[in-house]
Symmetry: C2
Subunit: 349 residues, 2 copies
Amino acid sequence: MNTTTSLVNHQVRLASRPVGEATRANWQFTTEPVPDAAQLADGEVLVKTLALSLDPAMRGWMNEGKSYIPPVGIGEVMRAGGIGVVVASKHPGFRPGEQVSAGLGVQEYARIGAAEAKRFGLFRIDPRLGTATQWLNVLGMPGMTGYFGLLDVGAPSAGETVVVSGAAGAVGQTVGQLAKIKGCRVVGIAGGPAKCEWVVHELGFDACIDYKAGPVRDGLKQHAPGGVDIYFDNVGGEILDAVLARINRKARIVICGAISQYNNTTPVQGPKNYLSLLVNRARMEGMVVFDYADRYPIAVAELAGYLKDGRMKSKEDVVEGGVAAFPETLARLFSGQNFGKLVLQVAHA
Amino acid sequence: MNTTTSLVNHQVRLASRPVGEATRANWQFTTEPVPDAAQLADGEVLVKTLALSLDPAMRGWMNEGKSYIPPVGIGEVMRAGGIGVVVASKHPGFRPGEQVSAGLGVQEYARIGAAEAKRFGLFRIDPRLGTATQWLNVLGMPGMTGYFGLLDVGAPSAGETVVVSGAAGAVGQTVGQLAKIKGCRVVGIAGGPAKCEWVVHELGFDACIDYKAGPVRDGLKQHAPGGVDIYFDNVGGEILDAVLARINRKARIVICGAISQYNNTTPVQGPKNYLSLLVNRARMEGMVVFDYADRYPIAVAELAGYLKDGRMKSKEDVVEGGVAAFPETLARLFSGQNFGKLVLQVAHA
């Protein structure tokens, strides 16, 4: 497959570590020739990027210092998960034309060897189960995060009240819809009346609290009058404190993220109401989706079933524009502009 | 048994709710005649107080507002657990001369009916298993708290590193000694070199960090170089944050109390490092000892065995002086002056 010869790979690299919000100045735009199939080493796969996942966690990867995975180095292609199509392969398990989910990075072509595959994954996807963008959403990392965070860490029982922040986001939509399927009352928290309306009418949540319209505490009193059994937290900050004040005995708080704190230039705001855990014999537990990798197939099978029978929707906010649009598209996450999973479309299959 | 006739019951009542630290002005000293045996209603027991337990939780009971139990009302006898001797009984299960553990309150005599017994407990104790003050310590609420908090919530495995704050206090001493018995490495945190020395040499902890001598973080690096698997938190505040920065994967943080925050006039300091729970897939869980009441006998039997065979010590700091000394004795808890479980001796058996 020599058609890739002389093609150019546009890339977005981390130029400097942001203080507060990332701006265009933190990025460097580079080009490289796309390697010829003959240039691939044994075991390598060349993947053409179709769609990239834009995630709140990206902001953390831009910081110096140890987290659950190492930071992106200065000058490195920005880390990103994506869906692509194999254009050349010296790996016996992958053939040209197959679609894969992998750590492609913010670039048009990714050359993935054994080390990259091990580190960030390289999985063949089944396009019959969902579109490329759905494979970045309910069938992808956000879906896996919601599935294992809710079911394994939250451990819901039918009849319980589940509250989820970032309800219109990627993880939030899976959590809320899945909790409904499991028989729970589900209250979302999102920003603005349009999102809240969408969460209730499109996604089928029982209620949604607009955190921009008034105190979340009041919304919880109204929409979760019996208290909160499970809180799936994607945002941290004041909203976490408001929910802590309304938890029930033996409540479970799943700490999945804290988007409100990721652009902080001051220390993270700790939950002032954490002693509610004591009073209510409740627990707060962190989760990282990679720990459940060996069970992804089980989750994908279950979630794909719900997509097929219509019990679950996979909603993406797809931005066209290729890798050049990455900086501004990422910023939309932090200003809360996205409706559903934010995806950057880089090419079409 | 008419010997109680014309005796006087000295009592300490809550006069006003403190702002910050409680002072003598928050208390009212009253007297009442001790009832005659004939005055007892069916099912009532009259108990002469021998020793009262002084606990950090008392500060919380003095505040307005809902907690795990209702606050002490203004004008009510201050709530306190204690050991006493039955002096008169119209309850078929208790006879004069028997020692009991009960919610006696800060007073010399307590009249306990079915409602009080149900609310705050009324248990016969076996003086052969321990002294009255030991029944307020390792064999009492602090011991039960340490036992179930460590074993049920912390779930230690041999070889793990357990850190406990308030190490020289009542709960801390049980937690640390029990964790040693279970095969863990145990690091205490306490205030001042004398307490730390005592925790290591008297109680047998592997190490003790003096939080007054320098950053707890540095002490953890030195004494828990492999990280922290279980943190049993009695203090909250900065120390909780320092430990959060050093936890291992799948660590368990038992939230038992937060004595550093109880006299706050500002909001509770939330743990800024709570996102370490996410990175480390760790959990933070609150516990209230009363939930384990049906298993107290099992815990008492196990702990009494350790006291008997010398594997565990029960260390009390006993203040003589009767109920009149209550305000100043309670203040010692919050200034960290006590070595071991703080007990107010009211009378001798």
